[in-house]
Symmetry: C2
Subunit: 236 residues, 2 copies
DNA sequence: CTCTGTGAAACGATTCACAGCA
DNA sequence: TGCTGTGAATCGTTTCACAGAG
């Protein structure tokens, strides 16, 4: 149940290699946390991998593998202990560890980020709000005053934030990312939809509604063509 | 240049399988389109895979493979012909083909989707806006009147829309997805952050700011630990 | 000589099948 | 019997190395 070095794998560290969480798994972990929190709040004590899979649309085996990677263990016959699992998931770096972020951009998109009820549920917090347009600075949003970019370095130093959400217009993305990099931000969730290169040492994860939709359309198309070729996918 | 059946791979279809675009590629294609459009608007005629890779943070080989999958060809020494490549990318299903979508949810998140300048650039269009809250219905947003869910089936039938963006509160996601499925929608971009299961026959792609941020934090952490172990990653 | 295009190898994630425990 | 946990096989993408065209 602990870790039992399977067979090979003896590089330098006798430790279980807490690093080895695959990136796709990493992306799913927050979803698991949300599900387990829901169940905890609903008063349940146990939850099986199968049930989690059904809710999230993954396979049960994958759920078990992911949870194992996160350091969570379950009990045969019962499933996973809800509170304990929540605690394990929260203990992961990036889920509770690096939980503060800066928001750049206070337009509609930025407001939507602030209003996201998921933020709090994931244990995340927007520390400060910045904007590049002078006429947007000094407004009060969600209880915080919008700051000019010039205040960035100081804020990063003070809060120790390493993450930023970039919710500006595409043509401001370059300037903003530069400022963020200079201020010491390490990771950016870029919602701007800009097509410009970012500073190399920044870890950037992009998302934009339009790309997401376009990709979805493509996947849908691919899936339907596949169905037409296969006949029935599964029938035992 | 056409397709040349490599070696093995001869199941049933002697055809080039125009279906065979891998899903990760499919997700990147909209990004390429954006870059090539930018360059076209900037007046450039040629663009190399290396340059595209640098802008988007991918490897040059990957760019070439992706563009090849999309049916675009380049010329040695010059790179890819910008206008021609834009046309090729636009010709793909889901990039210009299935380009209309329905929006459910007219709160801040829905407004952000409507305001996304990327929408138009990707050739996408929000056909109609719906909401579950009666007091939000009948407002006019972005030139369109917000409709009640009861108008969904008719709208889907009329427009032939297969895609929907779900931008409602988490607790409304279940009801909304059910209505969408019943109305004949096939693919949903779910921005609600809900942890409830969706109808099985729907293709659902989820995104929420919080999960995205949390995953980013995790990736950042993983990357930094890796750096610490490796010494220098690249030095020839 | 530069940049595309591609077989083949390498890699990593998902799935399968089954061992083990309550 | 029900569910977790995991070696092993499978599947698919990314990367490498080089052939080929302008």
């Amino acid at each position: 149940m602990r870790l039992a070095p399977p067979a090979g794998r003896a590089y330098t560290s006798p430790m279980p290699d807490p690093v080895a969480i695959p990136i796709p798994t990493l992306r799913r972990l927050p979803e698991y946390l949300r599900v387990f929190r829901d169940r905890r709040d609903a008063g349940d004590s146990w939850l099986s991998s199968e049930a989690v899979g059904q809710i999230l649309g993954f396979g049960a085996v994958q759920v078990r593998r992911d949870l194992a990677a996160a350091g969570a263990s379950g009990s045969p016959k019962c499933g996973y202990p809800v509170s304990e699992t929540v605690r394990r998931l929260e203990a992961l770096p990036g889920i509770r560890g690096l939980s503060a972020a800066i928001l750049v951009g206070s337009g509609r998109l930025g407001e939507a980020v602030l209003a996201d009820p998921g933020m709090e549920r994931h244990g995340l917090r927007i520390e400060e709000i910045f904007d590049l347009s002078p006429d947007r600075v000094d407004r009060v949003l969600d209880g915080r005053r919008v700051l000019p970019l010039s205040r960035l370095p100081e804020t990063v130093r003070r809060t120790g934030c390493r993450l930023a959400v970039l919710a500006v217009d595409p043509d401001q993305a370059g300037a903003a990312s530069l400022a963020l990099a200079r201020a010491g931000i390490a990771g950016i969730l870029d919602l701007s939809g800009a097509a410009s290169p970012f500073p190399k040492d920044l870890l950037v994860r992009r998302f934009c509604f339009a790309s997401g939709l376009a990709a979805l359309a493509g996947e849908l198309d691919a899936r339907e063509r596949k169905k037409n070729l296969d006949g029935f996918p599964r029938q035992t």
